[in-house]
Amino acid sequence: MTNPTPSAFSLPLRIKLAMYMRLLAVQGSWNYETLMGTGIGFAMEPALRCLPGGLNGPAYRAALARESRYFNAHPYLAGVAVGALTRAELDGVDPVRIERFRTALAGPLGSVGDRLVWASWLPFCSLIALCVYGAGGSPLEVVGTFLLLYNLGHFSLRAWGLQVGLSRGLNVASALGNPILRRGPQYIGSAAALVSGLALPLALQRVVGPGRVLAGGIIVAALIGILLLARLRERAEGWRIALGVLAIFVLYSVLT
């Protein structure tokens, strides 16, 4: 007599914790062939041991192979896929359906995560840290504010993704309509614009040091430069321009 496959709902806490910890390393073997695919298999592996036959049984091996193929998503939302695919495997869903679901899920998880995290939350948290610096914060205050604020969102998002994936299985797509995911970037963007107006001058003034005239001149020069760079939009990589200008300035200052 074989033990019934445990539902994802009844997965022991230690397995869920192991999956969560492994999700933090989901990009550990990121490569140009399977992108995040092997990481997805790595994160699901503790739960797949619950399949009939246990560790290294035929069901385990087939599922591990299937889940380690090509996949891409935003790393923080990979938990949604890992949870949903785990639930599907443990519920014995047809492998063809699982494969189709995998393909359909990758795109939305990438674009939603990119907009919410890389294009909103990360720059917002950076600007808050710059604001704390501009307000005279100590190294510990600046770094502490950034890490606490950023990771409050980061670790919560990963935990939410895994939980919602495990609980909804193949019906997880509706979770991507969550208001935070849909409208979050707009609200965070507005807040970031406000904070950038506050943070940039204050931070720049502190870096330059005393001297109101110099600080004023820098802000005016920066605003003109920003307008020029904004016109170039996607055609220019700002950091490369910075590298070139700095190299010329260092050369000039050494030779004169």
């Binding site: 001058p201 109101r212 920066a222 760079l229 950091w239 910075a242 000039y252």
Partner: protein, 227 residues
């Protein structure tokens, strides 16, 4: 700087280089954190924070979207922070020279990430059959070796950066010809332009973005005028 002196900084660079992509992406690799930690290692965290702020402004231009190629700021932040914190306080050329070294390190380190990803793909090719058979050992081996290689990559880039640039930065600072205020002003203007352009690129589609920005700007001007 010899190999032994660079070792603690290399270990920090390794850990923060790992954070960029592999584990745990908690953004301890952001330059504002990495440079401050490196400054603390040298015994001068405020100096690390100062160059970290400038690097953070520039790093806003390269957010890690999808599979795009971007400079790696973790190891670069460590190199920049350690180099700047090691210079005599108030030396006019210290900030521009250390910043240039950090940007070059970021560029080289970004390239090293591409090499790493290709190396992992090659290793995957060798173990593909085993992974397709559902071998746990093959998958774990690939994944853990990928993370180990990333750790070594960060250590190597940081060590090389420190060894190459520490003497170079010291030499530049010794013969620096520009005054302190303009030197710092050039750095700040460049960083501000890059940051402003980057933020515009990211947030230009947000409704009423200019009004929000101007609102913040007015508040900051009032604060600057009254303090």
């Amino acid at each position: 700087m010899n190999l032994l002196e660079a070792l603690p900084i290399a270990m920090l660079g390794a850990l923060l280089g790992l954070d960029v992509v592999s584990f745990p992406q908690a953004m301890v690799s952001r330059p504002i954190v990495a440079a401050t930690l490196a400054g603390a290692f040298i015994g001068h965290p405020p100096a690390g924070l100062l160059i970290g702020v400038v690097l953070e402004l520039i790093a806003l231009d390269t957010l890690p979207f999808g599979a795009s190629r971007y400079p790696e700021w973790g190891s670069a932040g460590v190199v920049g922070g350690a180099l700047f914190a090691a210079q005599p306080p108030g030396a006019p050329g210290a900030l521009p020279a250390s910043l240039l070294a950090a940007l070059l390190t970021a560029s080289i380190s970004g390239w090293s990430m591409v090499v790493l990803r290709r190396t992992i793909a090659t290793r995957l090719e060798r173990t593909r059959d085993s992974i397709e058979m559902g071998s746990r050992d093959a998958l774990m081996g690939l994944h853990l070796s990928g993370m180990t290689l990333d750790l070594l990559r960060g250590a190597l880039v940081t060590t090389l950066g420190m060894i190459v640039f520490s003497s170079l930065v010291r030499a530049i600072v010794a013969v620096w010809g520009s005054d302190s205020a303009p030197s710092r002003a050039v750095v700040v203007v460049v960083a501000a332009i890059v940051a402003g352009g980057a933020l515009w690129k990211v947030f230009h589609s947000v409704r009423h973005v200019l009004w929000f920005f101007l609102g913040g700007l007015v508040v900051s001007m009032v604060l600057m005028a009254t303090t």
